[in-house]
């Protein structure tokens, strides 16, 4: 496998503002594997919220901005999110198809953009990070990563190599948690019913932690669990692979 010495991190706005620790974990993991990380300061949002709501002009403007920011360097781009990853890898091409300048650049960016767990397993060939942990984990497959990018056993392979972590199956692990971006707000009652079903499965499975590859779904499920008073936490896979220094 060709050695990848340097990547650019598209950290995503949710990680940036809500889960900065996850971003730091991603950086630590990559650096320990000998991959230097750049994090372009001009990055903002990939445009997915606008795209999913049907506001294509707004989405296009943010897509162009993102393409610009990550085209300054030819280095691969790593995204700790299947959802934003799917946006850059699959939707940019369609969104910018008629743009004479950006169509090619968007395709180029898509070809060198990877979701974090896929990058580790498929690009770096790493499955065992030599870490230890504790507790019982269940994996929820986030929709866009699963069906958009084909993230299936990359995260669980990585988790299963963490010494001391016990993984238990999550019933209906590939059924949507009901997040869906603005769907959770606009169709709140349907979204809440889907979430309730998901939380029932979570509480039944016996895990103390639910592992995901998207912090948006983590925020959704964790918010529901907190409302229920449940002690179960939801964490990005990176947080489980590198919980950070105890200090």
């Amino acid at each position: 496998m060709p050695r990848i010495a340097r990547v650019q991190l598209l950290v995503t706005c949710l990680v940036d503002r809500l889960f900065p620790e996850t971003g730091m974990a991603v950086v630590r993991i990559l650096e320990k594997l000998g991959v230097a990380v750049d994090c372009p300061a001009a990055q903002t949002c990939c445009g997915q919220p606008a795209f999913n709501a049907g506001f294509r002009d707004d989405a296009r403007a943010l897509a162009r901005h993102t393409v610009d920011v990550f085209s300054a360097s030819p280095a691969p781009v790593v995204i700790p999110s299947g959802s934003c990853g799917d946006m850059v890898i699959h939707q940019y091409a369609a969104l910018l198809a008629d743009d004479p300048v950006y169509a090619t650049r968007a395709r180029d960016l898509a070809a060198r953009t990877f979701e974090f767990t896929q990058f580790l397993v498929e690009q770096l060939g790493v499955t065992d990070l030599g870490r230890t942990g504790e507790g019982t984990v269940a994996y929820h497959a986030c929709c866009h990563g699963l069906r958009g990018l084909g993230i299936r056993d990359q995260p669980t392979t990585l988790i299963d190599h963490v010494d001391g972590l016990t993984r238990v199956p999550l019933p209906e692990h590939d059924v949507c948690c009901g997040f869906g971006g603005l769907f959770a707000v606009k169709m709140s009652d349907i979204s809440s019913a889907m979430l309730a079903r998901k939380l029932d499965c979570i509480e039944r499975c016996g895990a103390s932690t639910i592992a995901v590859t998207d912090v948006s779904c983590a925020m959704h499920m964790a918010g529901g669990l907190h409302r229920r008073g449940s002690p179960v936490t939801v964490r990005h896979v990176a947080d489980l692979l590198d919980p950070g220094d105890p200090s």
């Binding site: 950290v11 706005c13 940036d16 503002r17 809500l18 889960f19 900065p20 971003g23 730091m24 950086v27 994090c39 300061a41 990055q43 903002t44 949002c45 445009g47 919220p49 606008a50 999913n52 709501a53 049907g54 506001f55 294509r56 707004d58 403007a61 943010l62 901005h65 929709c143 866009h144 069906r147 958009g148 590939d174 059924v175 949507c176 009901g178 997040f179 869906g180 971006g181 603005l182 769907f183 959770a184 707000v185 606009k186 169709m187 709140s188 009652d189 349907i190 979204s191 809440s192 019913a193 889907m194 979430l195 309730a196 079903r197 925020m219 964790a222 918010g223 529901g224 907190h226 409302r227």
Partner: protein, 478 residues
């Protein structure tokens, strides 16, 4: 033409979500059907290749629909059948009622046909003085209950066995013994409906596939009512969407290989019925007259749009069964004869977003529908194109439009994005107690109806990153 939704979408979903009985029935039945589907496809070697090929057949047919429809008309007529192209629902029902009047027909038996639901054929025939009897068990229940189907292949998925037993007792005067269990109710249906088949003079069916090269109609049923309806009455009227064609008989074999497996998990439906023209002069049975009504009713508009791919659909219903939204709200909440993911695209694509503006938004875009579709229709893609059309037509709520426009202006300027993020983080801390927000303001309150919202971090990842890089040898100096 279609029935306007009786209530706003939100009210319909609210009622459905509050119905625990409906919820349990839906969950139980969809899970059972999905397991059958998985098993059905696993029994077929290289099922993915069959699906890919079925998709090619459907895509090719639609791309040459002018040619194939023309060929189909020629071949149906060559076998002695009649074809009518109905541009609108009114046109379609007028043709059938006029035909019934001209031939003096009095009693129609019907097998399942979504398209006759779409154009409200029964109402019109009854108004024209005909007796109309639905003969598919599920559709018969729907007719007796004066209800609507809530699934494209399982019309009464919303009813439990005890619901049906109650209905039979109430409307048919059935005894407890006659409704003791599902086999008993099945027997009752056979006994009550057989005389109707034998005495009807008009048979009305839907069509699963028309074959352009031979003028053949393919009708798939399990109960056998589809055969009776197309064999006993002297006039057979087949109601068919203009998109339901395949080029030739070998192509028909391919699409049939994936249809039943995706729908119910069966290898084939019990009866795969191929009809080529009416009864031939030397044959003993079959209708004397065959009429095929090609219903457009918006389909040519869909064909000319970015949603044309939805016309590849072969009506297996798998996308309904797998959809976590459908599983929660059932078919009626969609308000359309075509519910679920396929209906959320097809309904507004056919009849516009005046009535149906909410349907493309009734999805979390999880993509499960695309994954199970036997012809791999990219439903999420078209939910998104419809949402974009809704925005272009000015249908989006203003708070979303204004919010996203402001978000775009901010996010296009990294320094502003950082500042706004800090402001938002500050805002969340004001609303929160112990790290979580229990009530978000304004339109965001939907979120906190059932879940808390986390407080944003005081120092963002970008803040920490900058700090870290500054401390690093060779890092940027700030």
């Amino acid at each position: 033409m279609t029935t306007p939704a009786p209530q706003p979408f939100h009210q319909r979903t609210e009622a459905a979500l509050a119905d625990a009985h409906l919820n349990q029935t839906l969950r139980r039945v969809t899970a059972r059907v999905l397991d059958s589907r998985t098993a059905g496809l696993e029994r077929l070697p290289a099922s993915d290749d069959w699906r890919d090929h079925a998709r090619r057949i459907r895509a090719h047919t639609l791309a040459h629909l002018d040619r194939y429809l023309d060929e189909f008309v020629t071949n149906v007529e060559a076998r002695g059948g009649h074809v009518h192209y109905a541009r609108t629902a009114e046109d379609a029902v007028t043709y059938v009622t006029d035909l019934a009047r001209a031939r003096g027909l009095t009693k129609a038996v019907k097998s399942k046909s979504m398209i006759s639901e779409e154009i409200h054929l029964n109402d019109h025939l009854e108004r024209a003085g005909l007796q109309v009897v639905e003969t598919d068990l599920g559709e018969w229940v729907v007719q007796l209950a004066q209800d609507h189907p809530s699934h494209v292949i399982m019309p009464i998925i919303h009813k439990s066995a005890s619901d049906v037993a109650d209905l039979f007792r109430r409307t048919l005067g059935a005894t407890d013994e006659e409704v003791a269990d599902v086999p008993a109710m099945t027997k009752l249906a056979r006994a009550r409906l057989r005389p109707e088949f034998l005495s009807a003079d008009l048979g009305i069916s839907g069509v699963n596939f028309g074959v352009a090269g031979t003028g053949t109609l393919c009708i798939c049923t399990n109960e056998g009512n589809g055969r009776l309806v197309t064999t006993l009455p002297r006039v057979h009227v087949a109601m068919m969407g203009i998109e339901r064609l395949v080029p030739d008989i070998p192509s028909l074999g391919t699409v049939l290989q994936v249809l039943a497996r995706s729908a119910t998990g069966q290898n084939l439906t019990v009866y795969t019925n191929l009809l080529t023209g009416p009864r031939r002069p030397d044959e003993f049975d079959g209708p004397e007259e065959l009429h095929v009504v090609l219903v457009d009713n918006g389909r040519s508009t869909v064909l000319g749009s970015t949603e044309a791919e939805i016309l590849y659909c072969i009506r297996c219903g798998a996308c309904l069964n797998v959809c976590p939204v459908y599983q929660q709200i059932g078919g009626h909440a969609y308000g359309s004869v075509y519910p679920g993911p396929v209906g959320a695209v097809l309904t507004p694509a056919l009849w516009g977003q005046d009535e149906w503006t909410d349907l493309p938004h009734a999805s979390s875009l999880c993509g499960a529908c695309r994954e199970v579709c036997p012809v791999r229709i990219d439903i999420p893609r078209m939910l998104l194109t419809l949402r974009a059309k809704g925005v272009d037509e000015g249908r989006a709520p203003s708070w979303i439009g204004q919010g996203l426009a402001m978000f775009r202006r901010v996010a296009a300027r990294p320094w502003l994005f950082g500042a706004a993020g800090r402001a938002a983080a500050f805002g969340t801390r004001l609303l929160a107690s112990r790290g979580w927000i229990r009530r978000l303001p304004g339109p965001l309150a939907g979120w906190t109806a059932s879940r808390d919202f986390p407080v944003m971090a005081g120092d963002s990842f970008q803040d920490r990153w900058k700090k870290r890089q500054t401390g690093k040898p060779g890092g940027p100096q700030s």
